[in-house]
């Protein structure tokens, strides 16, 4: 069937009706999905598109969240004005995280160094109680947008949806352009990419900064969603979660990041829904991830790409 890419708009348009059918709690879960969409879209840029084993994502997430939290509590800024600064803080963290990669650190060495970055940030949140509230955490005031307070999950949802749509479209445009092509060229063969005139160092920096920016905005949304940030929110479990999302969704696929976020966030809630399954969330979750990766090594987006090529990102390879 010949489809047009405008069908992608069906998803956000249909989503507009969600507050009509969901209770506050389920709406909260959907809002969390929106947060994880940005977290995984950003993560996938570095891991899936640039092909680097870098796990600094949790640092970007935490920095974005705390940036928003600190700007609202310490400077009294309304939340909506902190979203873009939180993105820039994430981007700065991305630049910092790219330093080992720029110095030629790759693979497992890069993985362990970037993991350490996340843990270092968690240590920093605990050790700077004046700013972050330390281990007690930071209570973030109710988010405000143009003077309006977002007092319930439904209101947050519409604002989050708007942000996610804008950021996802912007990211998609970059990844489908010569920039995305350069990322994939570097992933395939760095030397050959440089020999084609692609400034590989600049593209490493760009990928990490872009990733940090997108994830930082996700962090800012997270701060507004949960209202209380604590260092444990940004621990190693989060790394596994982010990684599971992009593996299940599809490495290097933006559509996959979205699918993965929805699925992985929804799974525990669905399990909780069935009383006889309560208590086995963890292992069902684990088995589900293993099954998907075993049978769909390129993630759910590879399945979708088979249904119709329209669902395939330009530079996603199943």
């Amino acid at each position: 069937m010949k489809l047009n890419r405008s069908i992608f708009w069906i998803l956000p348009v249909l989503a507009l009706a969600l507050p009509l059918v969901l209770n506050q709690y389920l709406q909260y879960v959907v809002n969390l999905m929106l947060v994880y969409i940005l977290v995984s879209v950003g993560f996938n840029i570095v891991v899936g598109n640039l092909g680097q084993l870098a796990f600094s994502n949790v640092a970007f997430f935490g920095i974005g969240a705390y940036a928003s939290g600190i700007l609202t509590t310490q400077l009294g800024m309304p939340w909506w004005l902190t979203v873009v600064p939180a993105g820039f803080c994430g981007a700065l963290a991305g630049c910092a995280a790219s330093i080992p990669a720029l110095r030629g650190v790759r693979l497992f060495y890069l993985a362990i160094m970037t993991l350490a970055f996340g843990e270092l940030m968690r240590w920093l949140y605990i050790r700077t109680p004046g700013l972050t509230g330390g281990s007690m955490g930071l209570t973030v005031p109710e988010p405000a947008v143009f003077g309006w307070m977002l007092t319930n999950e439904y209101q947050k949802f519409y604002v989050f949806l708007f942000i996610v749509v804008v950021v996802v479209i912007a990211t998609s445009r970059l990844l489908e352009s010569r920039i995305g092509r350069a990322f994939l060229a570097i992933k395939n063969d760095e030397n050959a990419a440089a020999a084609m005139g692609i400034p590989t160092g600049q593209y490493f920096l760009l990928a990490f900064a872009l990733s940090g920016f997108v994830v930082g905005i996700g962090g800012s949304m997270y701060a507004a969603l949960v209202g209380h940030l604590s260092p444990e929110d940004f621990d190693l479990i989060q790394v596994i979660l982010h990684f599971a999302i992009i593996m299940v969704g599809g490495l290097g696929s933006l559509i996959g990041s979205i699918l993965g976020s929805i699925l992985i966030t929804a799974t525990p809630e669905v399990i909780r829904h069935f009383e006889w399954l309560v208590g086995s969330e963890e292992w069902i979750f684990g088995v589900a991830i293993i099954v998907v990766i075993l049978f769909l090594p390129r993630g759910l987006s590879s399945l979708l790409a088979k249904v119709n090529p329209i669902f395939k990102d330009r530079y996603y390879r199943d």
Partner: protein
């Protein structure tokens, strides 16, 4: 004017001198072949020209400008393009996308233009795609444009690599063992393509190759390296008669 002037170039790996005081000039419209046994320093010399290895001493000038302090992508942007001994293609990109990646520096869309998806950003991408397809067609491989590079045959891969390197109309092309693994008719085709580029487009080519008949037929000048040093240089016929070369390389 010489296109490329290499003067007393030396590359060292710790105590090992891989390239020792090598000097030569490459001219436009000429094929210069580098031959020599394995480990003679041919690829290292290539890498030094392309900026992947640092010179311990000596200089490299391209169109009268020093390039031995530049990075690989800067050298590529100046107009020296290379192919690789193995790999080199972006396997997950299609043949067409490989050529587009080769055109990277010629696609002048700005970051903001891409974000806003402006008409001019779309236009430059479209123009580049058109050019890439035309180049693939010129080499007779337009039919594989949409195939992933990793799925192409050895000969097709080599052709795509050459198209990708030539996409920016570089004055100088470095070919690292282009004939390896190619069937005789494909070799012949490749030879014709190289001669056509050199004779009609006035491109300078430096070629590393072990297939000796290929080298003897296609080259204007042959330079023989052994243990990092130039042991002979001359026209194919002279090299064929050279006693040092016979001992070191041709094995008689």
């Amino acid at each position: 004017m010489a296109l490329l002037t290499v003067t007393n170039a030396t590359v060292q790996f710790g105590g090992l001198i891989a390239v020792n005081q090598v000097s030569f000039r490459a001219e436009p419209g000429k094929v210069r072949a580098l031959i020599g046994p394995n480990g003679a320093g041919k690829t290292t010399l290539f890498k030094a020209i392309a900026g992947e290895e640092q010179l311990a001493s000596g200089t490299i000038h391209f169109q009268d400008q020093a390039i031995h302090t530049l990075t690989p992508h800067e050298i590529s942007a100046r107009g020296i393009r290379r192919t690789f001994q193995t790999g080199g293609l972006f396997g997950e990109l299609t043949a067409l996308e490989n050529v587009l990646a080769g055109l990277h520096t010629k696609i002048p869309s700005s970051f903001g233009g891409l974000l806003a998806n402006t008409r001019s950003a779309k236009a430059v991408e479209k123009a580049a795609t058109k050019k890439a397809l035309k180049l693939l067609d010129l080499m007779g491989i337009a039919h594989v444009a949409e195939q992933w590079a990793r799925d192409l045959s050895g000969g097709q891969k080599r052709m795509v690599e050459i198209v990708r390197a030539l996409a920016t109309d570089p004055p100088l092309l470095l070919l690292d063992e282009p004939a390896v693994g190619l069937a005789p008719p494909v070799r012949l085709e490749l030879m014709n393509i190289i001669r056509r580029l050199v004779d009609e487009e006035n491109i300078g080519v430096i070629l590393i190759e072990h297939a000796i008949e290929f080298v003897m037929t296609v080259s204007d000048t042959i330079m023989v390296l052994n243990n990092g040093e130039v042991i002979a240089e001359g026209a194919p016929d002279e090299i064929r008669q050279n006693k040092n070369v016979l001992e070191a390389y041709l094995g008689r």
